[in-house]
């Protein structure tokens, strides 16, 4: 539990020892089998788990790690989190002998100071041994738990000053020994969780990795241990090489970017993430030196493993999507993450909320830094919402219920060159399946009143961001509601001359005398009938809005993504007619005049 441990955990691991060589086709076949097994494991968990965050929102990620602790393959899931498991598993591997690893074992870890993500993200993993008893692979599965037994229900706490307030930290714990579940250990976890359904989640996680190990065993038998090892080595090298080939095409140079978070949960303002991407030949260095390290900051401490994961996830979105996702990405990218900063905190810092911010700002800053040279693949893979508004109440039996607020919404779906933002979120969150009103209302005393996109809430640009939704929800019983707001002062940044996304805005007690906008973090008691209104920020724009095809602007007006007023104001497109009369048309001459005048004013030094 120290920076020294972090350095040890990330130290470059060697290839698996094997003298077998392998051809490209066999290696890719083995890789396909790996990915499929990970998919099977994740699917198993999704079907059997009890918590909505896992079984509905798909916040579960399966990965394969080799005997040296290297990431061998991943499945679908949430990209940022797919890259997190290796460090937690490496801590387990450090204790291989003391913890008496053997076939049929299953472990769990969640401790950010021992290679983990934040506490709610449990990494459950199971080793696979060959016939000689040698460790070959480890099936890992990471999933977000609905509670972690901390002082506040739900795994998040807006005012915890250390990790102990957030819940139970587990560096490593054996859950199954040689195939036999350890009742004592599993009971400890169940006891430290407020949700009765957690027992089902942990059972499902264990049975899922066990199923993965069985499938891997079959694979070993079919291809032979040495071939499988050679495939792991080959695929990692291949990814490293392909990523480097991409970097070699990028112009050498230093590309800096700064991103700010409005404030921490205690109100300390302008939390700063700084990234400098350095390109020299085929070597990319992501240097985070300069990022905030004020010791008084509360709750904006990202875990070390998550900082690495978020950086790699953004970079993976900026190269050919076809490159296999594995340890080769970590080989190819050098990361400098200052010790003691919010991106690699000192031990015992609270970590739950840090996995939202500054975690996503790491990716955002990398995207901003590289956007001038990679315009076609610069879409920030982020969620800028602070945290979802979680609503917590108790039923007649005294059991806690929680509407996690991961509702259907549009937020942060940004444009990139040649492509408007679309859908609900960035591509990377395309497997986070959002919760529905009909399901929520059948379970919880809430009413979803509205969640449409709001006109003019996408960043304007030659390619525009998708507007954000305004989610209005009424609670029908007294509840406590917890949230944290960012992106009001520092919204998602427009790229290459595009407009920023409009700010987020979250109003509690809408329409009453007590109505207020949440300016920072709040844990409020709401009476029955209270209404909250959450305007999500839309996506950011890309390149100058004055360059957008006027016909596209007209189409946007017809679809009410953009108003007639904003068409003129932000795009310099003059439209006549009205939506009511359904006769909106472009005034070509006036549009040319207005755009010409704007460009001239800008050239003369005027603001756009």
């Amino acid at each position: 539990m120290s920076f020294e441990l972090n350095r040890r955990l990330v130290a470059r691991r060697p290839a698996l020892a094997t003298s077998t060589t392998i051809d490209a086709v066999t290696a890719s076949i083995v890789n396909g089998a790996f990915e499929t097994i990970c998919f099977e494991v994740a699917t198993h968990l999704g079907r059997a788990a009890s918590s909505a965050i896992i079984n509905q929102s798909n916040e579960r990620n399966a990965s394969l790690i080799d005997a040296n602790g290297r990431l061998a393959a991943v499945s679908v899931g949430i990209p940022q989190l797919l890259f997190v498991s290796p460090l937690a598993v490496r801590w387990g591997l450090e204790n291989f002998v003391e913890d008496d690893w053997g076939p049929g074992d299953v472990f769990v870890g969640n401790d950010p100071d021992y290679g983990g993500g934040h506490l709610p993200d449990y990494t459950v993993y199971a080793p696979l041994f060959d016939e000689h008893g040698e460790l070959v692979l480890i099936q890992a599965l990471q999933a977000h738990q609905g509670d972690t037994g901390g002082k506040d229900p739900g795994g998040f706490s807006i005012d915890s000053r250390d990790i102990f307030g957030e819940g139970l930290g587990i560096p490593v714990l054996k859950l199954v020994h040689r195939g036999k579940p350890r009742r004592d250990a599993i009971d400890l976890l169940i006891r430290n969780n407020r949700f009765p359904s957690f027992a089902g989640d942990i059972a499902a996680m264990i049975s899922a990795v066990q199923a993965g190990v069985r499938s891997l065993q079959v694979l070993l038998t079919r291809y032979g241990v040495e071939t499988v090892k050679a495939a792991v080595n080959y695929n990692i090298d291949q990814t490293n090489a392909r990523f480097r080939q991409a970097v070699a095409q990028w112009p050498d140079g230093e590309y800096p970017a700064h991103v700010w978070i409005d404030q921490d949960t205690a109100g300390n303002p302008d939390v700063h993430v700084q990234v400098t991407c350095r390109i020299s030949g085929d070597q990319l260095t992501v240097d985070m030196t300069g990022s905030d390290s004020r010791p008084e900051l509360v709750n904006v401490w990202n875990t070390f493993a998550n900082t690495r994961g978020y950086a790699i996830a953004q970079l993976a979105s900026m190269v050919d999507p076809d490159i296999n996702k594995n340890e080769g990405l970590f080989y190819a990218v050098e990361m400098i993450i200052p010790e003691g900063s919010i991106l690699q905190p000192a031990p015992n810092k609270p970590a739950a909320l840090g996995s939202f911010h500054p975690a996503v700002e790491v990716g955002e800053a990398i995207c901003i830094a590289l956007s001038p040279i990679l315009p076609q693949r610069s879409a920030p893979q982020v969620y800028k919402l602070g945290m979802p508004s979680a609503v917590i109440g108790f039923n007649e039996a005294g059991e806690m219920w929680m509407d996690q607020g991961v509702d259907v919404r549009a937020s942060d779906a940004s444009a990139t060159q040649g492509l408007d933002g679309w859908g609900a979120m960035c591509a990377g969150l395309g497997n986070l399946i959002l919760a529905t009103a009909e399901d929520a209302e059948s379970r919880f005393p809430v009413l979803n009143l509205s969640r449409e996109m709001t006109t003019d809430t996408g960043g304007a640009g030659r390619w525009r961001g998708q507007p954000g939704t305004r989610n209005i929800k009424q609670v029908l019983e007294p509840v406590s509601a917890m949230t944290w707001m960012v992106s009001r002062k520092h919204p998602l940044r427009g790229l290459n001359g595009g407009d920023d996304a409009p700010p987020y805005c979250n109003i509690f007690l809408l329409g009453t005398d007590e109505e207020f906008e949440v300016e920072n973090a709040v844990n409020a008691q709401l009476p029955a009938g209270a209404i909250t209104s959450y305007q999500y920020g839309g996506g950011a724009g890309f390149e100058d809005p004055l360059l957008r095809d006027p016909t596209a602007v007209q189409e946007d007006v017809l679809d009410e993504y953009v108003s007639i007023a904003a068409a003129r104001e932000r795009y310099g497109v003059v439209l006549t007619g009205s939506l009511d009369d359904w006769n909106v048309a472009i005034d070509v001459d006036k549009t040319a005049q207005l755009r010409g005048a704007r460009l001239a004013a800008r050239a003369a030094g005027g603001a756009r």
Binding site: A48, A49, P321, Q381, M425, S450
Partner: protein, 681 residues
């Protein structure tokens, strides 16, 4: 002599299967894309002639025509459906666009959005709200509704999808909106979500209703035209249409939700497979259909291909009606092979039917799977392939493989072809494993049934890859969907949402749901000419543990004949909860007996039986080694060597063809890999 006719219309060919007593007569002619019903009539005329009858005479002797149509699929492929509008609850107009956040590729920031079938300008919210218990929270604002409908009218909307929240509990607002639409846009095609898919949650229902609105007018017009033509030609019964749930139903039933014919083509093949499997004593099957552009996989367990409703994406839209689960993979014979950066890729790009593989000689220039297996000698470029009408041509194949695969991989053309073959196998194996993973079953326990033009080329090697020991290839392999349609039974499969903790479930309510579902099914099946005595009902519940998102379906009762709900007594719920615990243990390896599961839906599967072909024949104990017609140099996975080639027509039951060998049938080739034996049945 009375007949039954199965008809399947594909992109290129329309396939016919005429059942005459126990005899099955196949026919194939070109499809007529402008008006597909014409191709049907042409084919029927051909069949009549072969029977020595006039078309009218033949049709008057036909008991049933069973038809699988791809009109809905084609509408979504070509994106030329109706100008459609959506009316929904105010505040929810964007569900279709937000897709619950789903994107098909989490790594590709350049993935474009789907083509909008209903752009935002034609998705309008109407003030109204019904709660989960059916109570009205906000009454329908009729003035606002009329205004919204008028706005749709101004845009030339011809089809209106109406989908409001909790309409499946209380449809009053949807019904009233339908009246208003009929007043404001006379003749508009109207889809009501509580009829198309009466269940939660809203995205799934709205999307399904929207797609129904988009394809409905074309599908309905086509079916009506076909019915008219058949009637005019002398057919006297109801046309039975294949549904994606694997059952067939009448035009009258499908009128409310024609979306149920989407993806029904592959479903026909799966149902036919189940029938063949049953005849051959194999009730657990892996069905693979490899045609020109795609490779479809599905699983049959216990003789049944259960349809699942829910997360079914087709052409980038979610259609949540029950569908036989068919996974489509871009690896048909036309899939293009290319290598870059040390990686060999097969598909999803496809040369399709036109220009097709290079060896078809129709202008294709990129190497495809078919070209690769020609190089391997698995296919023949001799005259006489495909029954003499079509000959493969190797000209240009080697050069293209050299340029696109062998060169980049630094290997020979034959090695490149072999690598393509390996990658196809691996892709198929992965697809199968994903499908079986979702179903929780082990491929080793299945029998592989292969059809489609290319399915039998890969079947045995793929079986070997998956640990499967037995492969079935139907003689009707290339035009199997038409035969499959003959095996499909009339079936109505519906569900009503009812979310309640098991311990609090109201048995009276359950009975009401089943009664309603049963009355509906009875109405349509009686109208289709069946008697109550022939109706078989499976009453089911969907259950899950508290918090779970995925339900498992458990049978409450199965019975034939007069309705008898006496099984639904006070003890039923406890019985069902126990069944669910067991089902969950079987599926996921653990249960949570301490927790009472919740009920999420009430289901009824009502079906009847109609005569189907007897897929008999079967294996005989006697084995005689058949004589190969010739030998050819081919690589069946163990390097090139002289390989025995058999003519399918020469083989009869009792013959025994040891691998390595190749059997050439009309329109298809069966590869008998080393270690395998082929037994004609």
């Amino acid at each position: 002599m009375n007949y039954r006719i199965g008809i399947d219309i594909g992109g290129t060919f329309t396939d016919f299967a005429l059942l005459k007593g126990q005899e099955l007569i196949l026919h194939k002619n070109l499809s007529t894309p402008q008006d597909r019903s014409l191709g049907v009539i042409h084919g029927l005329e051909h069949l009549a002639k072969a029977e020595g009858k006039t078309l009218a005479h033949l049709l008057s002797d036909v008991d049933a025509i069973i038809h699988g149509t791809t009109v809905a699929d084609n509408t979504l492929i070509e994106m030329n459906g109706a100008c459609t509008g959506l009316l929904t609850t105010a505040g929810f107009r964007d569900e279709l666009e937000l897709r619950r956040g789903y994107k098909e590729d989490i790594w590709d920031v350049r993935l474009p959005p789907p083509t909008p079938i209903i752009p935002r300008r034609r998705r309008l919210g109407v003030p109204e709200r019904i709660r989960f218990d059916g109570s009205v929270h906000t009454p329908l604002d009729e003035a606002a509704a009329r205004k919204a409908i008028q706005r749709l009218a101004k845009q030339g909307v011809e089809s209106v999808a109406i989908a409001t929240l909790f309409s499946f509990v209380n449809p009053a607002h949807e019904l009233r909106l339908a009246e208003l639409v009929a007043e404001e846009i006379p003749g508009a095609y109207i889809s009501l979500s509580h009829q198309v898919l009466p269940k939660s949650p809203e995205f799934e229902r709205i999307s399904t209703t929207a797609v129904n609105g988009y394809v409905g007018p074309r599908v309905t017009a086509y079916i009506n035209r076909l019915c008219e033509r058949l009637q005019d030609a002398g057919y006297r019964h109801q046309l039975l249409l294949m549904q994606s749930n694997g059952g067939v139903m009448t035009r009258e039933y499908l009128a409310g939700s024609p979306i149920r014919v989407l993806a029904s083509g592959p479903a026909g093949g799966v149902i036919g497979s189940a029938a063949i499997g049953a005849a051959k004593g194999a009730s657990d099957l892996l069905c693979v259909d490899m045609g020109g552009t795609s490779y479809d996989v599905s699983v049959i367990r216990g003789g049944a291909a259960p349809a699942q409703s829910g997360w079914n994406w087709h052409h980038r839209y979610l259609v949540a009606t029950p569908m036989v689960q068919v996974e489509t993979l871009g690896a048909g014979g036309g899939s293009i092979c290319s290598a870059a950066s040390g990686r060999l890729q097969v598909g999803p790009a496809s040369a399709g039917a036109a220009p097709g593989p290079i060896c078809y000689g129709l202008g294709g220039t990129l190497p495809t799977v078919t070209d690769a297996i020609l190089v391997l000698g698995l296919l023949s470029d001799d005259a006489g392939f495909a029954g003499g009408s079509f000959r493969l041509d190797r000209t240009g194949v080697d050069a293209a493989l050299q340029a696109h695969v062998a060169g980049p991989l630094n290997c020979s053309v034959e090695e490149a072809a072999f690598d393509c073959w390996r990658v196809v196998n691996a892709n198929m194996t992965q697809a199968v494993r994903r499908l079986t993973a979702e179903k929780g079953c082990n491929p080793e326990d299945l029998t592989l049934l292969a059809y489609g033009g290319n399915g039998p080329v890969f079947a045995a090697i793929q079986a070997q890859d998956l640990g499967i020991r037995r492969v079935l290839v139907p003689r009707t392999s290339p035009g199997f969907s038409a035969t499959g349609a003959l095996a499909a039974q009339p079936c109505i499969d519906e569900e009503r949402s009812y979310i309640v903790c098991g311990t609090q479930a109201d048995i009276t309510r359950l009975r009401q749901f089943w009664e309603e579902l049963d009355s509906r099914a009875e109405h349509f099946l009686l109208a289709a000419g069946f008697s109550r005595a022939d109706i078989h009902c499976r009453y089911q519940l969907n259950l899950r543990y508290p918090g779970q998102n995925w339900s498992l379906t458990a049978d409450a009762a199965a019975q034939s004949g007069a309705r008898d709900l006496s099984f639904a007594d006070e003890t039923l719920i406890a019985t069902m909860m126990n069944r669910f615990h067991q089902l969950h243990f079987d599926e996921y390896g653990h249960d949570r007996k301490g927790e009472p599961p919740e009920i999420t839906g009430v289901r009824l599967v009502a079906s009847t039986e109609i005569p189907m072909p007897h897929f008999t024949g079967g294996l005989t104990a006697e084995r005689r080694t058949a004589t190969p017609a010739k030998q050819r140099r081919a690589n069946l996975g163990q390097g090139f060597c002289a390989t025995d080639i058999y003519r399918g027509a020469d083989l009869v039951p009792g013959h025994h063809v040891p691998g390595p060998a190749i059997i050439e049938e009309k329109f298809t080739t069966i590869v008998v890999y080393p270690g395998w034996n082929a037994l004609p049945g």
